[in-house]
């Protein structure tokens, strides 16, 4: 029993990282209805930027985090403008194929320039173990949890309270109506990408801390799992993405601790197919009425 609780605590950190990525997915999907396959690879870019700003500039944790987030925001906006914007009126499949192309371009481009090997991610802090009754928690886990929570609260504030956030919600509700109300749709979509990719960059850095190593292909699987989290929670819903991430993170850690680590990716996809069969709109998703 103790072990199960301990594993759940360990799973929380991973779950919050998934939740952070899932939020970015949800944001982007909510506004242009496109699974941004490249979202997972932005995670990888974020981790690399953090690593290099540590190695070259010698900065600490918080500046590295900020540099990674800003760089990836710019990258995200560029990708949107160059690859996705020309296809906004094209069939969805065209945009989806382009997204896969962007994802592979990032992965193999990084492999070409920085080598396919794994790199050690710097330990920004000395690891401490804290005893909380029967449980043991590391300061890294606490850091991951607190950064994730702060960013989620910040995101909620931006989406719910600011003017840009209101524009985002309007565009995701009805693009044409929003344009008629004088909202600059292109800029709003760019802002959404900037926000989503900044979250992904932060998640990449936290993922680096969690696994202590990074490589050019590190982002794809977490990206897919974050998408699964978003689907489980209900795509487009902020609390849904969070709950979905936690469910998936904890399930995964439990499967690994039972000794089935080779099956962990399969379990995530099984969960996805089950959710899609039983409740396709997810836990918090709204029912979509089909209009002709």
């Amino acid at each position: 029993m103790e072990q199960v609780v301990q594993q759940i605590v360990n799973g929380l950190a991973l779950g919050f990282i998934y939740a952070l990525i899932a939020l970015g997915y949800s944001l982007v999907y909510g506004i242009i209805r496109l699974i941004n396959f490249a979202h997972g690879d932005i995670i990888m870019v974020g981790a690399y930027v953090a690593l290099f700003s540590y190695l070259i500039l010698g900065v600490g944790f918080v500046p590295a985090l900020l540099i990674a987030m800003v760089t990836c925001s710019l990258l995200g906006v560029t990708i949107e403008r160059v690859a996705y914007k020309p296809l906004r009126e094209a069939p969805r499949i065209a945009a989806l194929i382009t997204a896969i192309g962007v994802s592979f371009l990032l992965e193999y481009g990084f492999q070409l320039f920085f080598g396919p090997q794994q790199r050690a991610f710097p330990e920004f802090f000395k690891t401490h173990h804290y005893k909380l009754g029967i449980l043991s928690v590391t300061n890294e886990q606490i850091l991951i949890l607190s950064i994730a929570v702060v960013l989620m609260l910040l995101l909620n504030f931006i989406v719910m309270k600011t003017k840009t956030g209101m524009a985002m919600r309007a565009v995701s509700f009805d693009k044409d109506a929003a344009r008629l109300m004088g909202i600059n749709v292109d800029n709003t979509i760019s802002a959404t990408f900037a926000l989503g990719t900044a979250l992904a960059a932060a998640a990449g850095m936290l993922l680096g801390l969690y696994y202590q190593q990074i490589d050019p292909l590190m982002g794809f699987t977490p990206g897919l799992k974050a998408f699964i989290s978003a689907v489980i929670g209900g795509i487009g819903s902020i609390p849904g993405a969070m709950i979905g991430g936690l469910v998936l993170g904890i399930t995964e850690v439990l499967v690994v601790s039972l000794g089935y680590s080779t099956l962990k990716d399969g379990v995530a996809f099984l969960l996805l197919i089950l959710v899609l069969l039983i409740r396709p709109r997810g836990i918090f998703g709204e029912k979509v009425v089909e209009k002709v």
């Binding site: 690859a83 499949i93 989806l96 896969i100 192309g101 371009l105 699964i228 197919i273």
Partner: protein
């Protein structure tokens, strides 16, 4: 028979490439049934291929079942899995379906990795060499004819009506659910055949050969050739089977880039023929730049040729979708149109 004929003037390496073109043609035309004709989106085609390949290889390896029967059994098992994955399509659309098919193929790969009876992570070695160029050629031609007629039958038209407008199709009395599942079953059946040919040709199977990369490769074939057209899928399979081989040495790279440049010239002509002077200047500058890179970047190109394949694939995917969504077949059709009109005496 044909293999012996060809071996007079072709190396066994070239014949092997021709065989792979055949196998990939079957995969591409069958994926085109789902993605091109029905307008659904599957990125898990390698999963069906894996099922067919492993089932057939299991039967010939352990039970000495004749090759044709084993291939049929493999194809039927793949079709059964197509039915399984087709059922969620009743509810899923577009992007959700894409992720579900991807997940499904991943589950198959993970299960195969853990299945010791077919070698697990070591791979399935010692499969008898039961398919050669002749079998591949015959089965490819049969598959093409069957699928070509299928797409032109009432069934094929029903699938295309779903692609054009699912709700309208339903209103006209097309049982959309039935046809979407049918598309998956038919496509999976042929992917299973291709898997069996692949396994018995290479005499070795490994679960990681059937990962996402393989599915994307097949997807790229139909995107490049032109979706919703079996000739396009054939063209895409030919181009993408030869491309990695031609990227192996500098001479091949130069030829490849020259061909890509010519295709680019043709595509830009479609967009830029209103302003011929600007178009000419554009292709001239691009041509000079390409020549410059080829001559002065020779060392770099040779050093990184092996790693460039995936980057070239991904750039091709993006550019094709933005500038030439109808693929190479669509380009050929556009270019031939004024010629045809002149032949018919219509004023353009």
């Amino acid at each position: 028979m044909i293999e012996q004929l060809l071996s007079n003037f072709m190396s066994s390496y070239q014949i092997q490439i021709l065989s792979f073109i055949g196998i990939f043609t079957i995969l591409a035309i069958s994926l085109d049934i789902i993605n091109g004709y029905t307008g659904q989106f599957s990125i898990g085609h390698a999963g069906f291929m894996a099922v067919g390949g492993y089932v057939a290889a299991y039967l010939t390896f352990y039970h000495q079942v004749p090759f044709i029967l084993a291939t049929l059994a493999g194809a039927l098992s793949a079709a059964f899995f197509g039915l399984l994955i087709g059922i969620p399509t009743l509810r899923l659309r577009g992007d959700y379906l894409a992720i579900a098919t991807l997940g499904f193929a991943e589950i198959i790969r993970v299960v195969l990795l853990n299945l010791d009876v077919v070698g697990g992570a070591r791979g399935f070695a010692g499969i008898s060499n039961l398919s050669n160029f002749d079998t591949v050629l015959i089965i490819t031609i049969i598959s093409f004819i069957v699928l070509y007629n299928f797409t032109r039958s009432a069934y094929g038209r029903a699938l295309q009506s779903i692609r054009e407008d699912e709700i309208a199709a339903e209103c006209m009395g097309v049982p959309t659910t039935y046809f979407k599942v049918l598309a998956f079953v038919v496509a999976a059946f042929f992917a299973g055949i291709a898997g069996s040919l692949y396994g018995h040709y290479l005499m070795f199977l490994h679960p990681n050969d059937f990962g996402l990369l393989r599915s994307i490769e097949i997807l790229l074939m139909i995107v490049l050739g032109g979706m919703g057209n079996l000739w396009g899928a054939l063209l895409g399979a030919i181009v993408l089977s030869i491309l990695p081989e031609s990227l192996r040495n500098y001479q091949g790279i130069v030829y490849t880039i020259a061909v890509v440049y010519l295709v680019g010239v043709a595509i830009s002509y479609q967009k830029g023929k209103q302003n011929i002077a600007r178009w000419l200047a554009g292709i001239l500058i691009a041509g000079l730049a390409v020549g410059f890179i080829l001559i002065y970047g020779k060392e770099l190109i040779i050093r990184y040729a092996g790693q460039m394949r995936m980057i070239i694939y991904s750039i091709l995917l993006i550019l094709m979708m933005i500038f030439q969504p109808s693929g190479l077949i669509g380009l050929a059709r556009d270019l031939a149109k004024p010629l045809k009109e002149r032949l018919r005496g219509v004023k353009a």
